[in-house]
């Protein structure tokens, strides 16, 4: 019996190996290569001298590192709660049994299938001053202002957050939708007999039942938001004057524009470390609850 399952396990190896080789080569190996790089003075083309923790020391004293890390964190703070709330709201809306159900589901999900370049150029098209859609609508309802949605440092953040929500909310909505459909009907039927109102049902059945999937979404969202880069680069370029520049853009600039791959690797490790800690906290929480 034991021997048989051992053979069974062995049979899995040929199926796993191709992926594992690629994974080893393109994910695991670069992780260690990056660690090595962060300990060296390393240009785009060659390894220079060993500098130990010098890069890390520089990083802790680098105001741009802290500024861009804060920008990224601000993005996480702004998008995560709004994303969870919006995804939940849309999922509830798309779960109502009406003729429009399919329409809701597909239209909420549609933006998610577009690439970042497409959504960024759509955003620019909508938000640009003078001739953009948003400002034209404002003018047509009699508002004479000319808000600079991408060039004002406060409005730029609002624009990026709204565009990101619109773009990625669909995926989270689907997760919530799956969670909603997993709630047994018997719970609602029983509560109805007990005389619960719609609000009571939502408050005491729907919400508690959605907590586990909500936590998954929260973690995924935080991790994804910390990696924000492309849409900011394309919409504001990190501007005005670096006000929206995220950490990954700074890493890119340090590595490929300033020819300092060693330092870029160091900052990548800082980001990696932050994500690692967040994941551990989240996983530990989950395990505590499961006990």
């Amino acid at each position: 019996m034991n021997k048989k399952s051992w053979i069974q396990d062995l049979k899995a190896i040929p199926y796993l190996l191709p992926f594992f080789v690629a994974y080893l080569l393109f994910t695991i190996l670069p992780i260690f290569k990056g660690l090595e790089m962060s300990l060296f003075d390393w240009t785009l083309v060659r390894k220079m001298e060993f500098v130990g923790l010098e890069n890390y020391k520089e990083m802790f004293g680098d105001p741009h590192f802290w500024r861009t890390l804060w920008n990224t964190t601000l993005f996480v703070i702004l998008t995560t709660p709004t994303m969870v709330a919006l995804a939940l709201g849309l999922a509830l809306l798309a779960n109502i049994k009406t003729k429009l159900q399919t329409f809701f589901r597909s239209s909420f999900f549609l933006p998610s299938i577009l690439s970042v370049a497409v959504i960024s150029f759509l955003a620019i098209f909508m938000l640009q001053p003078y001739s953009g859609f948003v400002n034209t609508v404002l003018h047509s309802v009699g508002i004479e202002a000319e808000p600079f949605w991408m060039a004002d440092k406060v409005l730029a953040w609002i624009s990026i957050v709204v565009v990101t929500l619109w773009w990625t909310v669909g995926f989270n909505m689907v997760l919530f939708l799956a969670g909603l459909q997993d709630i047994p009907d018997s719970l609602y039927e029983a509560s109805e007999i007990d005389g619960a109102s719609r609000w009571d049902q939502f408050r005491h059945i729907t919400l508690p039942q959605l907590v586990p999937i909500g936590k998954v979404i929260l973690l995924l969202q935080i991790l994804a938001s910390y990696k924000v880069f492309a849409q900011i680069l394309l919409i504001t370029g990190g501007g005005p004057g670096g006000a929206t520049r995220p950490l990954i853009q700074y890493i890119y600039e340090a590595g490929f524009r300033q020819n300092n791959l060693g330092y870029a690797a160091t900052m990548s490790y800082a980001l990696f470390f932050i994500l690692l800690i967040l994941s551990i906290i989240q996983l530990r929480n989950q395990r505590l609850e499961e006990r």
Binding site: Y130, G239, G241
Partner: protein, 444 residues
């Protein structure tokens, strides 16, 4: 047994795939000088029998790419000893790719580089000096415009063959400028070349033209504003941000007073005379759709305006409003990547092509660029091209970026901080304090 077979098939497929991945990037195998007339496995280009293949990488797009291909085709047809195999690369990742692949010995035989990136290539030992090979082939360096050529010379050695300079200039919409009464009887714009004179020209446009027409289409952020700032800094007599004696260890020598004056002058366009609409997303479109009376950008736009229907425009240097003539500019150049065991035949062939291509500057000028060889500028073929002669003289006084390895890093810092001046968040004085600190950190 059968499973073992499947397993080994899968494994070998994986290995094959990985092998294919790692070899597809190297299109410049050095040993392939003389080809046997078959496709050589690296690309599907047919190399003529007995010809030396020279693999060239370029970063051009649009009209630039077209005219460069035209020159290459002409060269390939003009003789049968050398074949230039032109490989187009994506502009955004071009230098990353060039630097890393040349360092790995897998780059091209011939490449395009901007003058401003040359120091990085030289300092990393990635490009070949061209003097000895050049004299063998018979390159006459005196044929080149000295201002353009000097920007490619390091330690008295030639490292590149300049193709052109592409400078910041000014374009006018003749109809709108005429409507505002600013053309004289010969159709020339009435611009007095003083700081106030040029602003007056723009404010007159603003006053005379309907409200939906802009006096000057320009950007309020990014690299364009930086270039115009650099032009005015130069006109005020400012020459450098960093010293050029030692390209790897430069000193910060920005003339702060002139830098501030130039920044405030440009800032005035946005906030004092209000002749530039703020935060235009795409200022090219405004000029192209005849919504703007003027635009300041690089000479490469000439080709674009020319092909725009009913756009009656003229081109001129950026008005020299301060004491000296000056404008921003960069150059496209040819370089030969350095490899330890390079084939001299291929390298000689590459230089032969460089000389040919720069002789054909009139074709290149169709894109708008100012050719690097003086004899081309003086040629009839060039003079027959419209617009180009109006601004060809700026080649003599274009101020190139400082010769240091920090060119791109410095530009990023300048752009980011000047952007804050253009949005009105900080004063020019504050911006240059931050710039000084950031650049000193960078070059430290």
């Amino acid at each position: 047994m059968k499973k073992c077979l499947i397993f080994s098939v899968v494994l070998s497929l994986t290995v094959l795939m990985l092998a294919a991945c790692s070899s597809s990037g190297g299109s410049g195998d050095k040993a392939s000088g003389a080809d046997n007339g078959e496709t050589n496995g690296k690309s599907d280009v047919k190399i003529p029998e007995g010809a030396t293949e020279v693999v060239m990488w370029n970063l051009f797009g649009g009209g630039d790419a077209e005219y460069m291909q035209e020159i290459i085709d002409e060269f390939n047809e003009s003789q049968s000893d050398v074949y230039i195999n032109n490989v187009m690369q994506d502009y955004d990742e071009y230098y990353t790719k060039l630097l890393t692949s040349v360092a790995a010995g897998k780059g091209p035989d011939l490449a395009i580089s901007h003058t401003s990136v040359l120091p990085e290539l030289i300092s990393q030992g990635l490009v070949q000096e061209l003097d000895s090979l050049g004299s063998e082939v018979g390159v006459n360096w005196d044929e080149f415009n000295s201002n353009i050529l000097e920007a490619t010379v390091y330690d008295e050695k030639h490292y590149a063959v300049p193709i052109d300079t592409h400078a910041q200039i000014l374009y006018l919409n003749n109809k709108l400028v005429g409507d505002a009464g600013l053309l004289d009887e010969n159709g020339n714009p009435k611009i007095e070349e003083t700081p106030e004179g040029f602003v007056n020209f723009l404010t007159t446009l603003k006053d005379e033209l309907p409200d939906d027409k802009y006096p000057l289409a320009f950007s309020t952020a990014g690299v364009d504003s930086y270039r115009l700032w650099w032009s005015y800094y130069t006109q005020l007599g400012g020459e450098h941000i960093l010293s050029e004696e030692d390209m790897e260890n430069p000193e910060y020598i920005l003339d702060v007073d002139k830098a501030i004056e130039a920044a405030n002058y440009l800032r005035g366009f946005y906030y004092d005379s209000e002749v530039v609409p703020l935060n235009l997303e795409d200022f090219y479109t405004e000029f192209q759709s005849k919504n703007a009376a003027a635009i300041s950008t690089g000479v490469w736009a000439t080709g674009t305006w020319e092909t725009t229907e009913d756009l009656d425009f003229s081109a001129m240097p950026v008005p020299n409003v301060f004491d000296q003539k000056g404008t921003w500019g960069d150059s496209h150049t040819f370089v030969i990547p350095y490899y330890q065991n390079a084939d001299p035949e291929v390298q000689k062939a590459a230089i032969q092509f460089m000389d040919f291509a720069t002789d054909k500057g009139a074709i290149w000028a169709k894109a708008g660029h100012i050719p690097a060889k003086t004899k081309v500028i003086e040629s009839e073929e060039y003079e027959e091209l419209p617009y180009r002669s109006e601004y060809a003289q700026v080649a003599n006084y274009v101020n190139f970026a400082d010769h240091t390895i920090y060119g791109r890093g410095v530009q990023d810092i300048m752009v980011r901080n000047l952007d804050l001046v253009w949005t009105g968040e900080v004063t020019a004085e504050q911006a240059f304090k931050t710039i000084e600190k950031e650049i000193k950190d960078l070059i430290d």
